[in-house]
């Protein structure tokens, strides 16, 4: 009798527990290593603001991803590697399934967590920064430098110049100046531009600007003597407006200056004032608030007073939209992973990694998301963790960025060859055996 009662009681408790688990809303945790103070706060607050707003949108409009609500927590890194590692460790066990994905928006922090994330089975997604050769997914299964890398960007810029000149063969004998931030980031451009210079026969002059770059008189004197046909501005932070102002001073046409995506935001042009007019910059996302996805954020998130941006005028700026791209890709990867591992369930980082690796954002999907032309279509595979490698070019008209090109492709065989070469060297140094992609499901 007693035994029966105990069993019954046990069963009742078990049933109660099970029903309470089933009744609870599943939650997917995303740790955000943000930076809202320090020298790069203007970029960080835009990117993380846009990213949080997009996740809020998915919660408010759709009730989460197939009913799984997104939760997040910010951790201030100050763009500092040591703080970034602390944030990574702090966030990785949070939520019911741990941190889903780590996206530091800092190349330094990316390098610091690469090995740790592989051990902890958390995918590291670096959109438009980070380690370039990680695009070889056979050597770096856990790292996703999505959409495009610095090398693809450099090559796309050369292709853009080629089209402007009327054909790649017209580049022969042309002079291109590279004004770069004297750091690991700035030097990322060298190897690929050197190869392209030999291939197309243009002359490349590399001119370094020491950090932070608020003094560029001698560099522009040098550029005035060289008289390059184009100047590629590979800058960061205060270096960008300074370069634009210095160019205006020596009378170098801004229409011939092409910036990279960390040189092409409102934060780079507005401080330069009228000197920025005509400046062209590459970007894997565009500026503008008249895309359906941004309109939805205004309606569903800001309409309910749940927006993250303190300065609402920045909605639709380059950095804000970049954050929306971060959010959108993260959400779509989780959605993809749910198709395989169970809809409406909270997933682990390992499962979401599969979602990133099998991500396929085609034009139809982008249209459904209201993001046609907002970011390029994207297809990731086991070997290729980069995707299209395309950028759009925008021109500053004095008050806003105007898109002036379609998606411009890179010299894919050359860039991919360099990526595989570099990844193979890394694999050899670290004793990694590359995955066999034909066996991956």
């Amino acid at each position: 009798m007693k035994l029966k009662r105990t069993v019954l009681l046990g069963a009742a408790i078990a049933g109660l527990l099970a029903s309470s688990v089933a009744g609870a809303v599943e939650e997917q945790f995303i740790g955000l290593p943000s930076y809202r103070v320090g020298p790069y706060a203007s970029g960080g607050s835009g990117v993380f603001g846009g990213w949080i707003d997009y996740m809020q949108l998915v919660n408010e409009r759709d009730g989460g991803i197939n009913g799984v609500r997104l939760t997040w927590e910010e951790c201030e890194t100050e763009y500092n590697n040591a703080r970034g590692v602390e944030c990574y460790e702090r966030l990785k066990k949070k939520g019911s399934t741990g941190n889903t994905v780590f996206q530091p928006v800092s190349t330094g922090i990316t390098y610091s967590v690469l090995d740790k994330a592989a051990q902890d089975k958390i995918p590291v997604v670096t959109i438009g920064y980070g380690r370039t050769d990680a695009a070889d997914g056979r050597v770096f299964p856990w790292v996703f430098p999505l959409i495009t890398t610095y090398w693809s960007q450099a090559s796309a810029i050369v292709n853009f110049i080629g089209t402007k000149e009327g054909g790649m063969d017209k580049l022969k004998g042309k002079k291109i100046g590279l004004l770069y931030h004297d750091s690991a980031y700035g030097k990322e451009s060298h190897a690929v531009l050197d190869r392209l210079a030999t291939k197309h026969g243009f002359e490349l002059s590399k001119i370094a600007v020491a950090h932070p770059g608020n003094e560029q008189q001698s560099q522009w004197l040098q550029l005035r003597q060289l008289k390059p046909d184009y100047v590629i501005l590979w800058g960061w932070g205060v270096m960008n407006p300074t370069a634009l102002k210095a160019a205006a001073k020596v009378g170098y046409p801004r229409e011939k200056m092409i910036g990279v995506w960390w040189s092409g935001a409102e934060e780079d042009t507005i401080p330069a004032g009228p000197a920025a007019k005509g400046f062209i910059a590459a970007g894997f996302n565009v500026a503008g608030a008249n895309y359906p996805v941004v309109a939805d954020i205004k309606k569903f998130v800001y309409g309910k007073g749940k927006g993250n941006m303190e300065d609402k005028a920045r909605i639709g700026s380059v950095y804000y939209n970049r954050g929306v791209v971060h959010g959108l890709i993260t959400v779509e990867a989780i959605r993809k992973a749910q198709e395989k591992f169970g809809k409406g369930r909270a997933l682990t980082g390992e499962q979401v990694r599969w979602g990133f690796e099998n991500l396929n954002l085609d034009d139809a999907r982008l249209k459904a998301l209201g993001a046609t032309g907002f970011l390029p279509s994207l297809k990731i595979s086991c070997a290729d963790h980069e995707g299209p490698g395309v950028v759009k070019f925008q021109q500053w008209d004095g008050s806003q960025w105007k898109v002036i090109s379609d998606w411009v492709e890179s010299d894919r065989p050359l860039v991919r060859g360099m990526i595989e070469e570099s990844a193979a060297a890394y694999a050899k140094e670290k004793g990694i055996k590359p995955r066999d992609c034909s066996k991956e499901g």
Partner: protein, 355 residues
């Protein structure tokens, strides 16, 4: 009461010359070693070991390095982070280019390489003093980082200038787990800190302090300035170099030259100012303060005000509180946290019957 020394007699020179002459201090120190060397790795979780304790230990070592130079020998330096970079990249290259290089030897060689560079940049200290010397060491800070970026040989021709530390293997045992890495860091830091504590009590340390207090007078009574100052630079850079190598191998795992920027040098300088200039223990207290307080604030402030204020404001508020606390501590005790501890100890020795 706790610190009553009554009945503790020193009957030999050896006993008189101990690091910790009071028995309670010896017991306390042994307990400290046991807690942090044995109990902590057994009990602490991964987050604490990896993200909190290991960096505190490593920065303590760097702070000891700077404290030897600034606190004991009186030479102000703003190049500590650069000497850490030398150590990190030297260890990487020694292990990479010499087959079968044992890790501990590489660590020592990394320290020696940093010491050599330190001596080189210490040469101006023979002619210039005080703030002017700080500016000269500032040159070291920028020059070393520039060299490491400029010449790709140092980073083994990596396209981005970033190097990944090799696996740490000692006698066939791979230090992979956070516990193992923490214990390794702790052992190295403990040994070097004890060595530093002894060094500053020796003739060398007294020579440094004589130079610090008045170098002309020190020269008059027979200290050789060049030798003393350069030795301080060498030993200081050795400590910073080893700290840099540990930073790369047991903490971050991948290093880039820009990681060792001026900000980090300033941070180490703040550590010794807050902790106590001219105190080995102060280096530990200062490093703990500078590393832990921002993390504590980052946990505390959003929890308290997160919903009421915007995320951007909360982040800035943390910096304001951090700065405010630094000013508060410097007003309350300009000689640092170590001095606070010393005062507390003196009070305890008389307690409960002060005169």
């Amino acid at each position: 009461m706790l610190y009553r020394e009554a009945g503790q007699f020193r009957t030999s020179y050896a006993e008189d010359g101990r690091i910790f002459p009071i028995r309670q201090d010896r017991i306390g120190f042994a307990l400290l070693l046991l807690v942090f060397g044995v109990a902590v790795p057994l009990l602490a979780n991964e987050y604490w070991l990896k993200a909190i304790l290991t960096p505190v230990l490593i920065f303590s070592l760097a702070a000891i390095g700077l404290n030897i130079l600034t606190g004991y020998a009186g030479q102000l330096s703003l190049g500590s982070a650069a000497f850490m970079a030398v150590g990190a990249f030297a260890a990487y290259n020694f292990i990479l280019r010499v087959d079968g290089m044992p890790f501990l030897l590489a660590l020592a060689l990394a320290g020696l390489a940093a010491a050599l560079v330190g001596v080189l940049f210490g040469l101006p200290s023979l002619r210039i003093k005080g703030f002017y010397l700080a500016v000269a060491t500032l040159a070291a800070q920028f020059f070393i980082v520039w060299v490491l970026v400029k010449f790709p040989w140092f980073s083994n021709y990596s396209s981005s200038g970033v190097v990944t530390a090799q696996e740490v293997v000692i006698l066939g045992y791979a230090f992979v787990s956070p516990e193992a890495r923490y214990v390794l860091t702790f052992a190295v830091v403990a040994v070097l800190a004890l060595a530093a504590k002894n060094l500053v009590r020796s003739a060398t340390g007294r020579a440094w302090m004589a130079v610090r207090d008045m170098d002309v007078a020190a020269q008059v009574i027979g200290f050789r300035l060049m030798r003393t100052k350069l030795l301080a630079f060498a030993v200081s850079s050795f400590y910073c170099g080893v700290a840099g190598a540990l930073y790369a191998y047991t903490y971050i795992g991948t290093v880039e030259p820009e990681g060792f920027n001026l900000d980090l040098s300033f941070k180490i300088l703040f550590m010794i100012i807050i902790g106590g200039v001219g105190s080995i223990m102060g280096s530990f207290l200062g490093a703990a303060f500078i590393v832990l307080l921002p993390i504590l604030l980052d946990n505390l402030v959003p929890a308290l005000f997160g919903n009421a204020l915007g995320a951007g404001f909360v982040s800035n508020l943390q910096l304001m509180i951090f700065g405010g606390l630094i000013i508060f501590f410097l007003i309350v005790e300009p000689h640092g946290l170590a001095r606070l501890w010393q005062i507390a100890k003196e009070k305890l020795r008389l307690w409960p019957f002060p005169h």
